[in-house]
Symmetry: C2
Subunit: 297 residues, 2 copies
DNA sequence: GCCTTGTGTTCGGTAGTACCGAACGCGGTT
DNA sequence: AACCGCGTTCGGTACTACCGAACACAAGGC
């Protein structure tokens, strides 16, 4: 986040370091140890373009955001453009994301066994519940949505794909957490904390653990305006062939549109869909309650 | 493809290049001039993983495919993994595509004005025609599909997104070519040639030009087993707010399922959908015949 | 059992290169 | 005209990305 370039600013021009090399490889870009700087920069460049406006950014914009000189930025951008990751629009070169990105994303979803297979099930679920239904994979404990089917005539939510969601403030996240041991849950929470998103967000571990107990007995997790005001989600976990949690299925809708008496019915529908996904994966159906088998791992 | 590393092998150690610069910066990686080598390699690495098996590749596999040492490959892979572009699976580190790729792809489609907006239209078209319907953007003359909606109960075709299709052997491609001048078409063909895909593929420019004339008078383009045996496609162009061709809409199905008398009806349906997309973009409806207006450009 | 072959990993050392800054040519606005 | 801003090119040098060898570990063969 707050990484600044140690390159041009810090080193006095005359100070030539003795060649015997007292300096270790010098932690690279703030990201980690032993990485390739120019590549890390290039990836940050892509991120910048992705976060930028839809009509693209100029080279100077990129140079400023990246904190490098224009010439360096040009070289990076050219290389990325040659690979199709970036694309320079015609009038007054503005860089946007290239088509290769789309292709890679499509391949990634296809390789992620759940990719295409779950689509029909999500479509069915979306029609049945009239809500936006999504499928998430479990990425080191975090839910990451990889597929989305909007309900018929439903409002379109801003639901980005491929992004880590907060485990404690999403239905999918809590469905996944509910399959873990208490210690694992505590470890997860230690990583990210439990940042408040709305006035309903669960912000202490003990309340979360109690909530997860409820998830286990109900068979589905609920996000009742805990992530965004007015938004209601409901999700259940799915399991892979090894019995470990593989992700979750969830539905999203406007809280006001949803009478309380429908919640249980929705929960059953989501759970039925999730079980079918688990079945495709060769995994077990969701356990009714309590133990989930992942404890021995 | 057949680029070999000029690094350690080619340059004699003592031969110090005269500083006046007789040699130009030495074409980098085979990709283009003035690019950053390590970044180009990193992107090739991602491509290799994408083209590899779904269960991933080992580091040694990557090193072999990339033609670099394991240590270099490790540094590249680590950097990419830190950015989320790659992901090392748990048992015996195997690299697969990371979730960032999915996120970027989703953003890219969202930024590509057609992204979400066209979805409902494609869904409608898919239900109406009972065929797989897709939307392509025009990338330097080439059609690149960015959205796909499978028809109800239709066979799932292998239809990768974000990939350049052959202009002469796809309905979308010919729909786009039909908006160009003869010279532009010839230039396009000169770039890629007209490789034969099936026994029905059009392989000489004059036949192609004649076919395009037919496209203009019909108002839609047909791919009658020209790209793949047994596959029938039908497409029409869409236009942006500047009046230039922006892409195409096409439907795909099994040739045998499609009686000849339905072709015209399908053409009208596709064209109606394409016109609606054009309308969303603020562009003109497709012209009935002949001139397409892009000739003056 | 040991030896072999594979894996992923770390560590020096050097040559090469990725980086910056300055200068250039353009098209726009003040 | 003079002025920014843009994208682009060109040298030169400090740095860094690269390789190769060595290491630790796991699996498979004789």
């Amino acid at each position: 986040m707050s990484d600044q370039e140690p390159r041009g600013a810090a080193a006095p021009p005359g100070a030539q370091r003795p060649p015997d090399g007292g300096a270790p490889p010098a932690d690279d870009d703030g990201t980690g140890r032993y990485t390739v700087r120019s590549v890390a920069r290039a990836m940050r460049l892509v991120q910048i373009v992705a976060d930028g406006p839809a009509n693209g950014l100029t080279l100077s914009d990129l140079a400023r955001s990246l904190g490098t000189s224009k010439s360096t930025t040009l070289a990076l951008a050219r290389t990325l453009a040659a690979a199709g990751m970036l694309r320079d629009a015609k009038p007054g070169p503005r860089y946007t994301l290239g088509t290769t990105v789309i292709r890679l994303g499509d391949i990634a979803r296809g390789q992620l066994p759940l990719g295409d297979l779950s689509r029909p099930l999500l479509t069915e679920l979306a029609e049945e519940t009239k809500m936006t239904s999504r499928l998430a994979i479990c990425d080191e404990g975090f839910p990451v949505f990889i597929e989305r089917v909007d309900g018929p005539g439903s409002v379109r939510f801003h639901t980005p794909l491929g992004q880590r969601e907060m485990p404690h403030a999403s239905a999918a996240g809590k469905a996944i957490l509910a399959t873990m041991t208490e210690q694992q849950v505590r470890d997860m929470c230690a990583q990210t904390g439990l940042p408040r998103r709305t006035s309903h967000t669960i912000t202490d571990v003990d309340s979360l653990l109690a909530n997860l107990e409820l998830v286990r007995s109900n068979g589905f997790a609920i996000d009742d305006e805990e992530d965004a005001e007015g938004i209601f989600c409901l999700g259940t976990a799915i399991f892979g062939h090894d019995g470990a949690v593989a992700g979750a299925v969830s539905v999203t809708g406007i809280k006001g549109d949803l009478p309380a008496w429908r919640v249980n019915e929705l929960g059953q529908a989501v759970r039925r869909a999730a079980d079918q996904v688990s079945h495709i994966l060769g995994g077990p159906r969701q356990k009714d309650t309590g133990r989930t088998g992942s404890e021995t791992a």
